[in-house]
Symmetry: C2
Amino acid sequence: MREISVIGIGQTKVDEHWDKAIKDLAFEAVTAALQDAGRETAEALFVGNMLSPMVSGQNHLATLVADWLGIRGAEAVKIEAACGSGAAAFRAGLMAVASGEVDSALVVGLEKMTDKAGHDVTAALATAADADYEVEQGVSFVGLNALVMRRYMYEYGWKHADFAPFSINAHANAVHNPFARLREPITLEQFEKSSMIATPVNLLDASPIGDGAAAALIVPAGRARTDGKSVRVAGSGAATDSIAIHDRREPLFLSAAYQSARQAYAQAGVSVADIDVFELHDAFSIMSALSLEACGFAERGQGPRLGLDNEIQVTGRVPICTRGGLKARGHPVGATGMYQIVEVVQQLRGECGPTQVDGAKIGMAQNIGGSGATIITHILKRE
Amino acid sequence: MREISVIGIGQTKVDEHWDKAIKDLAFEAVTAALQDAGRETAEALFVGNMLSPMVSGQNHLATLVADWLGIRGAEAVKIEAACGSGAAAFRAGLMAVASGEVDSALVVGLEKMTDKAGHDVTAALATAADADYEVEQGVSFVGLNALVMRRYMYEYGWKHADFAPFSINAHANAVHNPFARLREPITLEQFEKSSMIATPVNLLDASPIGDGAAAALIVPAGRARTDGKSVRVAGSGAATDSIAIHDRREPLFLSAAYQSARQAYAQAGVSVADIDVFELHDAFSIMSALSLEACGFAERGQGPRLGLDNEIQVTGRVPICTRGGLKARGHPVGATGMYQIVEVVQQLRGECGPTQVDGAKIGMAQNIGGSGATIITHILKRE
């Protein structure tokens, strides 16, 4: 397999972009990535997106975006794996370049959610769950995560406030990210007093949706930039689990995270101790704990300990959500996986200012579709 | 790039499968493909599908299908390129195996359309067009094809009956395909008298929708079967054009078909004269003419001549739609591209009975998303 480098990155602010169509968001992020790389075009376009058919009445999105970008003629395809669509598109792009079929690929994670009112989006998000076995029972996506969190607290004896550090850390970091949606710090008191959504998940356990696009330009490593801004893709892994949580052997263990991280570690030739920064999928605070455990950063049931011990901060042992994470940068679902890739590249380039992880050389991004059903893990290295 | 072989194929009948969920259709086709190959599983699953979010309320389809198939844990991802989703998934699978990331992949084209009433499906299909520039004007997908056909007839002086051979040939061939939806022959008189849908497109110019799934198992060529049933993937090409037809330089020329066919010919080291059988995307009779022209089988504006001269029949120079094509096998949109691949494999294996193309060694499949906006062409060779 050919080695691949990321040579350009771009992103829009995660926000309610009422004045922009979905293709405008793509244009902004992709143009920024091309400018960053000093290139004008690419041979192929891979779009990660979940909700465009339901929210924007638009299928065939990748070809539409290629047209709008002015790279007419280029191969273009959309990849969908629920909230894991962004990383799935990145992996599809990697495989296209690695196979030799194309020599450059643009990957953009892209989501426009605010064109529909709240209830519609909640229903649309529930299409990531099993329509027959979960959604038909009336359970929303938040509801599913609440069931997992409640069980986790019961099994391992944590109280709700023990999850606060995950959200507090994410908000503290987002203050310094101009592309983040929620750029204000929060306190433990605010965390504990925020509105309940689905017990025990309250508003500050949950990530906000939003509109956004994040893009990267990838090429074979041999054709990368020589100015120190190229970042190597060292490892990539993808795995799945049953969509319905009740159908899993261990509902509190993300087996697909374990499996995909293991693949990525092996491919990159690194171990968990080598990871300098980890952009994980904190759609809900419980998911931070489960992800840290499945990837080997904490023992089972002990994820919250890392937060309580200040290990997840930028200066800690396992810095996570250094640009705000899903919780505060925002979670434009199909775009999120590409925001994570872009943010890891920023860390490895040393471009993160006050939230820069000192001397970061190896970064990991993990994107989740559904409540742990599709998990894709990438490891990037400074070149 | 590693050479790839198709070692197993499977399909369901295209029909109104009221008694089956979308995952049941996938199960039937994939199980048949695995049985055909004498294998039990694969490392990855690529699902081509367009309408599942809108018709079945189900995103995250690939992971759901992997779960239902019992290949839990395997990488799974959905690919969407409107009606070109099937071939797009096949190409994604090819690149995954070619890159070395996986050593076996199942690809399934999958669509369930009859769960919604007719009007809803027409609206859902229109999401393949440009929501801002085409659909907002009230034009349906049939309407767009009617505008193209009308212009073509005007420019090149053909009358409606000149397109009849495309539909008559497709129906005649479908009689012998147990998986086809419309297994009855039609006459020129029936063709001319059938109900008008959108002038000049009448019912027998148009392909019927349906539910269906078609699957293939692919592996590196070195690991293929040795019983003569493996088929080599010799060429693969993908290209796009503007989604909105009015925005194209030449609305009557499928530039993405030209471009993707040229890529596939070059990769396979063949020319148009070497193609023994061609499964093209006859969603409407006009598309048969345009596809034949863009791929080099006919001069511009002369596609219908091939039909009138009996060149498109199984015994002709360019046999097309040998298993019924979209017109009579049926067009379960996101599945169609994989039906074409399966049918070309059947031809190259010599399994087509009365519609077998004598001595077929090289076959081509071309799948189209939108009105020519995404076109993916594959060339397969007998091993």
